[in-house]
Symmetry: D2
Subunit: 125 residues, 4 copies
């Protein structure tokens, strides 16, 4: 799934580049769009009692993103287990790779306990 | 109620100063501490079904705050009505006034409808 | 100038709605797009030594925005003086007015001192 | 270096817990305090032309942090090379481990090119 992101002024720091905490926010947007493309909606999943919590995050920053840059995010579903989902990400600007990342999400119930991922999510494999 | 805040790097923008959206986050911290001083806890209020939503925000920025500055925030309860609460704020660094602000909060129930403020909050007047 | 904004998960708070500090970030995006429509770019203005700092912010929150909502932001240039610029904002979802706001920006030089707005900005009137 | 952090309302998401992007902001605060304890100041380093950019971030989230929780962050300097610095982090609440993390920073000059770390930083080893 591919997705365009315009870097916001508020996302940039005194070095004049996007702060490193802006990237995982963009990755989360990538997951939202990937779900949408599969005909699903994370808002509905939460309403149904399925919370997807990030349990592992790894980012490698290779080149800075600047205010007003138009970025290109590729989000890939790497694996779906019984409880966990793994995604990888590639962030680019004009073909230049700015960052790569990997996340693991765990499916939790409303009380925060792990639960099996919902059936409909498994079908997005 | 007085409260010290250290400006975080992530709160600063390419101009090298705290972004204007960091200030209302600090004001919210001031309200949390003001409640705590009155023996109350906003987390408990929410658990009891009382949501305090910001319905009005006004900030005047007079001088910039920089990364690692230690700021001094004064939070004052201006008025408590049946449903609404008003606070004012003064943000200083070494006696220099950086910003003044005013907020109005409305008490909502879990469905987002206005409801009377809880008794125990009225006693903080 | 009209602009669509998708509410991000990271912008929402425990009440399940967009936190009140997300709105001024969106207004800043509206100003960026308004400038772009006038053939200008805020990034270039900064590179030329013209900093536009928010000196006044006023927001009225009327109805909540939720995660994944598609919002519609209208940004209007209200006035340009020698040093200051005023904008107003209307934020809507499906025709429902969620918030109105008003900002005043002041033009500063790299040392933070007020300076006259650049010629090319005056022509956007 | 040990450091207490109160979880802010604005840092929490619709699941009612601190959003996963709040953690790296706290780790950055831990690095600031670690430097301060060594008699240094990151603000001065930047003024001297030494930028420390995060080039690698890895976080493992084990248990959620909630609004108003008082957290305990341990920041450890793992290694200092010629250009890169590695830190590790342990975040706890009342002795319960909430997250562990690891970052690699690279020293850059004002143009974003790698440069040797300043002498005075090496002495913090």
């Amino acid at each position: 799934m591919q997705f365009e992101i315009r870097v916001r002024y508020a996302e940039c720091d005194p070095m004049g580049v996007a702060h490193h905490t802006a990237y995982p926010v963009w990755f989360e947007m990538g997951r939202t769009e990937l779900l949408r493309k599969a005909g699903l909606n994370y808002r509905d999943l939460e309403a149904d009692g399925y919370m997807l919590a990030v349990v592992k995050l790894a980012v490698q920053y290779k080149a800075p993103a600047r205010y007003d840059d138009m970025l290109h995010l590729e989000t890939t579903l790497e694996s779906i287990g019984n409880v966990k989902i793994e995604h990888s990400y590639r962030l680019l600007r004009d073909g230049l790779l700015l960052a790569t990342a990997h996340t693991t999400l765990a499916c939790l119930d409303r009380t925060g306990r792990p639960q099996a991922l919902p059936e409909k999510l498994l079908h997005t494999r």
